[in-house]
């Protein structure tokens, strides 16, 4: 079987060195007005004129593989709609999630091919390792993929559209 790639999210106050949050295994991911892996979007919607809390998600590779390498991340399909800006960055630095504008991120509202996506590095110790590498030969984590939705004041009422985010990697 291919390698197992499970998603995780970190939340809460940044503690330790290198800093990290509280880890949760997740099967879905929504941008919300709270820093929580479980509260549904319908309970904590992001309203016009506000930002979502920053999401820190990452993959952990386990199972069966000899090497994982060349990880890329991109917004590859769909749109959240007019008035929505999707910001994203790949980072090893965890900061306590807030709804302030995400610092150092790029506007990834427009789709791009995964081949042109952002490079994501890997580490055997965690997503916040200060020296991640482009490949690993045992169980490993990606860096954080940090994203935030910023909603303008004139965004249409109602729910947002949907997007496809992709992670591409090689394994053998």
């Amino acid at each position: 079987m291919p390698a197992i790639a499970n998603w995780y999210e970190q939340n809460g106050e940044a503690t330790g060195s290198p800093a990290g949050g509280v880890e949760s295994s997740i099967s879905s991911c929504d941008w919300k007005s709270v820093d929580s892996p479980t509260v549904p979007r319908t309970t904590a919607p992001v309203v016009a004129g506000e930002n979502s809390f920053i999401k820190y998600i990452y993959l952990k590779f386990t199972g069966t593989f000899t090497q994982i390498a060349n990880v890329k991340f991109a917004h590859t399909g769909g749109s959240l709609g007019d008035g929505f800006v999707l910001m994203g960055k790949v980072t090893s630095d965890y900061e306590t999630p807030t709804d302030a504008d995400i610092v150092g991120a790029s506007d990834i509202t427009s789709t791009t091919s995964i081949a042109s996506g952002a490079t994501v590095l890997l580490s055997t110790s965690g997503p916040n390792d200060v020296s991640p590498a482009s490949s690993q030969t045992s169980s490993c984590y990606t860096q954080y993929i940090a994203t935030q939705v910023q909603v303008s004041g004139d965004a249409n009422a109602g729910d947002s559209g949907s997007v496809t985010l992709s992670v591409r990697y090689t394994e053998n």
Binding site: P2, A3, T64, S166, E171
Partner: protein
């Protein structure tokens, strides 16, 4: 065309050495697979381990599918050839030369990996899937430059 057993992989690799062949386990398990471990090397580690001690004995490395085989032919190891063989509807095979190395190479090594993708669609995580298979070789020419050729198999 020597077929391999059924697997969830569309293609399994087979490494043919002078004295033996190593075939990818249908579930990609390493020969010393530990079911209790969080992580295990894949079958490719078995190939790497044997190749490291018998690099001069590798004759070919194949990607074997249901009715198509892609081969890196190292019969003349200094001059690798990549070709495919396809089983026709009436039993006639089609042989296609895909690439022939033009310069003599040394320290030739096999390149094999799967291009994988996992997506988040409308907030829901999908399972990783094989997008394509990459097969090829790399080696050093007489000036010490690395030359490599990789083909993508969908």
């Amino acid at each position: 065309m020597r077929k391999l057993v059924k697997s969830n992989f569309k293609y399994l690799w087979r490494a043919n050495f002078l004295k033996m062949s190593i075939v990818q386990h249908p579930e990609d398990k390493y020969s010393r697979y530990d079911p209790e471990a969080e992580w295990n090397p894949s079958s490719f580690r078995d190939f790497q381990n044997y190749f490291n001690g018998h690099s001069g004995e590798l004759i070919s490395f194949e990607l074997v599918g249901e009715d198509k085989v892609y081969t890196v032919d190292l019969t003349r190891a200094w001059c690798p050839i990549i070709y495919s063989d396809e089983e026709g509807r009436w039993g006639n095979n089609k042989h296609t030369l895909l690439h022939r190395e033009k310069r003599p190479l040394r320290n030739v090594r096999i390149i094999y990996y799967r291009n994988m993708e996992t997506t988040i669609e409308n907030g829901v995580f999908g399972k990783p899937r094989v997008v394509s298979y990459a097969l090829g070789y790399q080696g050093l020419d007489d000036k010490g430059n690395c030359r490599k050729k990789v083909i993508t198999v969908i």
